[in-house]
Structures are given as structure tokens and as C-alpha cells.
Subunit: 189 residues, 2 copies
């Protein structure tokens, strides 16, 4: 299984590195760290990560979209949203963390679906699309192939939920134990 | 306050990115992402992060040392341990996560001090130094300027503990709330 972790400038660190830690522990996973432009991408916290250009990777299987300050600009970047729509359409599963849900909502692919996002940015995310059935009181929400989580660290709980759904709760609990993480439930917030 | 996050090949992702997320939220913190060689450093999970050479940064204030597979080789790398000893000596506070405590123990600076580490690698870490008072049943331990945490995600709890000790529990709780993290107590394990 290929898992593509999408990076853009001003992404929020833990949004993406929490799920990377968890999802990389699934057997036979190939993780790719991608961006639309390739090369170094800088987080909100100031560190830079080397990324592959999306042209070089397999776009099926899983796509993970972080949130962060960068989403505020990208949500109005037509070219970015257009490219993201293609990526999300090709992926078998799409996981968004925090305000990554705003980008996902902007593609229109969440229309008439349930989704959640960061509690502190909830009104802004809701304002991006009124066609989404936004669920405030949830740590993460699953609808069809779309997994959306609440803010930052909730991405880890969702990642464990994704592992549980696809590979069984035993595997998810084993990963949580291995990283000494106390898994919060889907309906906690 | 300068916080230097130390990277080496085969570091464990969440060990360091959890604390980066939390400690970067302290006001007036300047985070540096450093390594002994500078340039790109690869995690156990396969992503590469750009680092500054230690020669270019201020070595006082805070040093954060992750764990991971890379520690198994580095603990026997005399040059690395010698350089790490200097870094730790210069720092006002040293924080280690997971098996990062093995590297710290090897410097001798933990001799006659209390410390903890990853529960699943505890016997190996203990074997590195019998001069340390190893505390198994703790999520993190503080002794003088040294903060040591249990495995992977326990680093986030310790980082919040560090914030609480230096800037007050209110600030730590505010950061936990902002990232929707449920802070685990010092004596949970």
C-alpha cells in the first residue's frame, strides 16, 4: 500500500508527523512525502522537509492532507485546489487533519458528506463549504473513502481508527502500545 | 530562548516532531533543527529533514534528543558521544525522548541521576549505564536540568511538563488545548 503524505508551506507539524508515525507501522506500507512542486517544504514551525514531486509517485491508495496556516491561502489557490481534486479523486482513501478539511471541502468531493475539523477554526472551515454536513462533536469522522479529523493531535487518533478499520482493532491497539500512545475515542472531543 | 532539536539518521519521527509542535508554541522561542554534519537527515520512517550544522547555532538554552533505531549504532560512536557530551554540558536544559536516554546516559552526565526511557527497550537502555537510577514506572522524569521521557508519544507529555515547570501549568494546558491533545500525567505509564 502506498501512502502519500502531502506537504505545502506552512503546514502544521504534528498534523502530518503524528499520522506518519502511526501509518508507517502498517506492514508493507510505502510512505511517500510529496508536494506539487517537489523539493524542500517549510512547516509553520520552521523546519524544512524534502519532498517528491507528485509526478513521480503512484497516486492511488491513500492520501493524507495536513492542516495549518498554509491552508488559509491555498483554499483560494485555484491551481492548487484543481490539482488536489485530481489527487483526491484518484486515491482510494483520503485522510485530512485539522484545517486540511477546508482544502478537501473546497474540492467539492465532501459535498453531502459528513466531515469534521479543528474546533478552534470550525467556523472558518464551515464557511468554505455549506454543502458539507459538518459534525462539530467528533474527534474524527468517516464517510465513504473520506476520513476527517479534528485539530492537530486528533490526527493520530484518526490514523489509529483508519488502521483499525482496514487491518483490525488489534493492529491499531498494538501500534498505540508500541508508541506508548493513549488512543482517544472517535466521539471524544 | 533557543531550542535545539538534534537530528541523526534513523531518528524516530514522533519522538522529535511531537515536542517540536509543543515547544514551538512557547512565546519568543527560536527553534533550530540541528545535526553534527548539517544537511539532510533521514528518519526511520524515510522522510528527510534539512538541518543546520551545530557550528552555526547557539548551544545554550535547550537541547532535545530523540530516540529511534539510530541510537543503537550511535551509542557506540565515540566521536558522536564526545560531541553530544559537549552539547549537553553547554545546554541549560536537556530533554531526551525514548531511547535518546541511552545516548544521554552514555555521556556520563546522567550518572547518579534519575531517568526513564521507552518501556519496550528498557533493558537495553539500562545496559548502557548502570550508574543511572533508572525509573521504569514513569511517563517522564526530571532530575536537575535533565528531562527524560518514556517511548515516542510520551515525549509530548514531557514537553508539556517542561512548559509547565518553566512557564506555568496554565500555559501548558493552553497549548494542550490548542492542539487538542489530552495530556497524560507524569506518573502514568
Amino acid at each position: 500500500m502506498d501512502i502519500n503524505f502531502l506537504f505545502f508551506n506552512d503546514f502544521e507539524t504534528l498534523d502530518i508527523f503524528g499520522p506518519i508515525e502511526i501509518l508507517s507501522r502498517i506492514e508493507n506500507v510505502k510512505a511517500h512525502f510529496i508536494s506539487f512542486q517537489g523539493g524542500l517544504i517549510k512547516s509553520k514551525q520552521g523546519h524544512e522537509i524534502e519532498t517528491e514531486n507528485i509526478a513521480t509517485v503512484n497516486l492511488k491508495d491513500v492520501l493524507v492532507i495536513p492542516g495549518g496556516q498554509g491552508t488559509r491561502i491555498l483554499v483560494n489557490d485555484k491551481e492548487f485546489i484543481s490539482q488536489l481534486t485530481i489527487l483526491c479523486s484518484k486515491a482510494e482513501y483520503v485522510l485530512s487533519i485539522c484545517t486540511g478539511a477546508a482544502l478537501l471541502a473546497k474540492t467539492g468531493l465532501l459535498d453531502n458528506r459528513k466531515a469534521t475539523s479543528n474546533k478552534k477554526a470550525f467556523e472558518w472551515v464551515k464557511s468554505i463549504s455549506s454543502n458539507v454536513n459538518w459534525i462539530r462533536n467528533a474527534r474524527w469522522v468517516v464517510d465513504n473513502k473520506f476520513y476527517t479529523s479534528s485539530g492537530v493531535s486528533a490526527g493520530m487518533d484518526m490514523a489509529l481508527g483508519f488502521v483499525s478499520d482496514l487491518f483490525g482493532v488489534k493492529k491499531a491497539k498494538q501500534i498505540a502500545e508500541d508508541i506508548e500512545y493513549i488512543w482517544n475515542k472517535k466521539d471524544s472531543f
